[in-house]
């Protein structure tokens, strides 16, 4: 059996582990346009902060490829899939035959057209280790940085560089930071944390035009900067599958076994859609745990096993200078909230199920809540009033507890 994996991040690595859990001897070829050993992609901001280094950023031990008998082709792009001939065409002109193929191509930064952007010389995205290294070269203690986008990527970049540069300004169209995962109260805690580090926010605003080192906002405000980071969003890399005739909606469509509409072509990670277990909707859930779980499932199935991944939950754990934000699920239904200064909890429940939560600076045992969402545990089976205040296994029946604590899991 010959496996080809396109993509060297969480989903691709998970697929290798999934394949090897089922097939110890098949040939695996891993293709990546990034010239690096697999690294934890979200760690690039921690790298800039000095909280990790290239050695510790490795997503797997240094002997991973060797131990799993993986042939790596780094610095090469997969340009085309020929699903009829079962071949992948590479940027160096060579082709790779496959019996089973995984597309784990991730996503790329989306840069909207903005007037004058071409005239900005020092502009960066913040998705890859190479992006972080390039940004690092461009900044110093006197640098003024402008970040467009107050989402997860923009703010992690902000945290990464805030103490290494003279100033950071962040602009976003939304009226609060992290609009995809936080409501206003939670967002204000994060904003205060970053403001305490000198970061200046321009919210409900956007850039009207750039000159080389000045941005003029719609509101009329002018921001002088030396370095620009554009972090307004990402687009999934779906083209390989789309051009080969595979079904693509917003992301690559896959079934619960990770297979695309093309036979023997699987996909996983940020380039795909998942079925959100709370809403039943198909959507892109670009998060690392999801990428791993999808990739592992695809890998097992590529190797002839039979696995299903049908428990995708939106979730994020993200921190800024000691302020920890943990969120999961969707924010619909009735809610229960507790607010006290920089601590914030909000639970969302509907029709007898927990649908989602926001926890700011209250991380303890949050996984108990997440598991109620993931497993669709009827709240009638637990003491929900008890668990509202703090997550605890005490809220379960003694039998359910024995299953968790007195038995191998």
């Amino acid at each position: 059996m010959k496996y080809v994996i396109i993509g060297n991040s969480a989903a691709g690595i998970a697929a290798i582990e999934g394949i090897r859990s089922t097939d110890e001897s098949g040939e695996i070829v891993l293709v990546s346009d990034e010239p690096h050993f697999t690294y934890g992609r979200p760690l690039i901001s921690y790298y800039l902060m000095g909280a990790t280094d290239p050695e510790h950023m490795r997503y797997r031990p240094a002997d991973f490829y060797e131990k799993n008998n993986v042939r790596t082709l780094f610095g090469v792009r997969a340009e085309k899939i020929d699903a009829e001939k079962k071949q992948v065409v590479l940027s160096d002109g060579k082709t790779l035959d496959y019996d089973k193929l995984l597309v784990a191509t991730g996503s790329r930064p989306f840069v909207p057209p903005m007037e004058g952007l071409d005239g900005v010389k020092k502009k960066f995205s913040f998705m890859t280790f190479d992006d972080a290294l390039a940004l690092e070269k461009a900044i110093g203690p006197k640098t003024r940085v402008l970040i467009v986008g107050a989402g997860l990527i923009g703010l992690k970049c902000c945290e990464g560089i805030a103490e290494r540069v003279k100033s950071v300004a962040v602009v976003d169209l939304a009226n609060h930071v992290l609009p995809s995962i936080l409501d206003e109260y939670g967002a204000q805690i994060v904003q205060r944390t970053l403001e305490a580090k000198g970061v200046k926010f321009y919210l409900s605003d956007s850039v009207a035009r750039f000159e080389e080192k000045t941005a003029t906002l719609k509101s009329g405000a002018r921001i002088d900067f030396d370095v620009l980071v554009v972090a307004v969003g990402v687009r999934p890399n779906v083209e390989l599958v789309k051009n080969a005739g595979g079904e693509v909606r917003r992301g690559i469509a896959i079934d619960e076994r990770g297979e695309t509409s093309l036979k023997d072509v699987y996909a996983a990670g940020d380039c795909t859609e998942s079925r959100d277990i709370v809403t039943g909707d198909h959507k892109i859930l670009a998060l690392m745990p999801n990428a791993y779980l999808q990739g592992h499932c695809a890998g097992v199935n590529m190797a002839g096993g039979d696995e299903v991944f049908d428990k995708a939950v939106a979730m994020n754990a993200i921190g800024f200078f000691g302020t920890h934000v943990l969120t999961a699920g969707v924010y619909t239904g009735d809610s229960f909230e507790e607010k006290e200064g920089d601590k914030y909890k909000k639970l969302f429940y509907k029709d007898g199920y927990l649908n989602g939560f926001i926890l700011v600076n209250e991380p303890e045992r949050a996984g108990i809540y997440t598991s109620l969402i993931r497993e669709r545990t009827p709240l009638s089976q637990i003491d929900f009033d008890l668990i509202k205040n703090s997550p605890a296994l005490m809220a379960f029946s003694s039998k359910a507890r024995a299953d968790k604590l007195a038995r191998r899991v």
Binding site: P289, G319, G367, I368, A402, L405, V409
Partner: protein, 172 residues
């Protein structure tokens, strides 16, 4: 000690064989298991855990006057008490979810954390269904039970010192 609890100890002392299970000599797949009906809620396991992981040999010096951050936590509710620590899940979702590759499974099935790799994002805290992995004292990383194989004890100190065999270390 309340009479009911004392009676429980006398009449429901677990099979003495279990007490020696930690000496049976093989470590593969041994885990810590909880018998909640024997837990007195004394929280001694928490102190023994904190001591075992303090790197010190004098318990008083290690713990006196200090806030402890044990990797095992006792839940109390009325008459019910039980300890919770890492279950070393067969399909460990914390390992699968870790963004840094800091969590891994040993060949013998133990879930290990590499604190030098951990960046303290708390994704593991967000996914653990048992609430058994937690922020460490300094807040820069997560911490979890490694069965005292990562400290001087070499076997779970909480189990060793549980006065009522409410936690055991054995194969199941």
């Amino acid at each position: 000690m309340p009479r009911a609890v004392r009676k429980q100890i006398i009449t429901e002392l677990p099979n003495p064989c279990l007490r020696n299970s930690a000496d049976r000599g093989y470590s593969i797949m041994k885990r810590i298991y909880v018998n909640e009906k024997w837990c007195l809620g004394c929280h001694l396991c928490e102190y023994e855990c904190a001591f075992a992981n303090s790197g010190m040999t004098d318990m008083v010096k290690a713990l006196k006057g200090k806030t402890i951050h044990p990797k095992i936590r006792v839940e109390d509710g009325g008459d019910v008490h039980f300890a919770v620590n890492c279950r070393h899940c067969t399909e460990a979702i914390c390992v699968k979810s870790c963004i840094a590759g800091a969590l891994s499974k040993d060949d013998d099935g133990m879930v290990r954390i590499d604190k030098d790799k951990c960046v303290g994002c708390y994704t593991c805290v967000l996914v653990c269904p048992f609430g058994a992995i937690m922020p460490s004292a300094d807040g820069h990383a997560a911490q979890k039970c490694m069965l005292c194989l990562d400290n001087l004890c070499g076997e779970p100190n909480c189990v060793k010192h549980c006065p009522n065999n409410a936690i055991v270390y054995e194969e199941r």
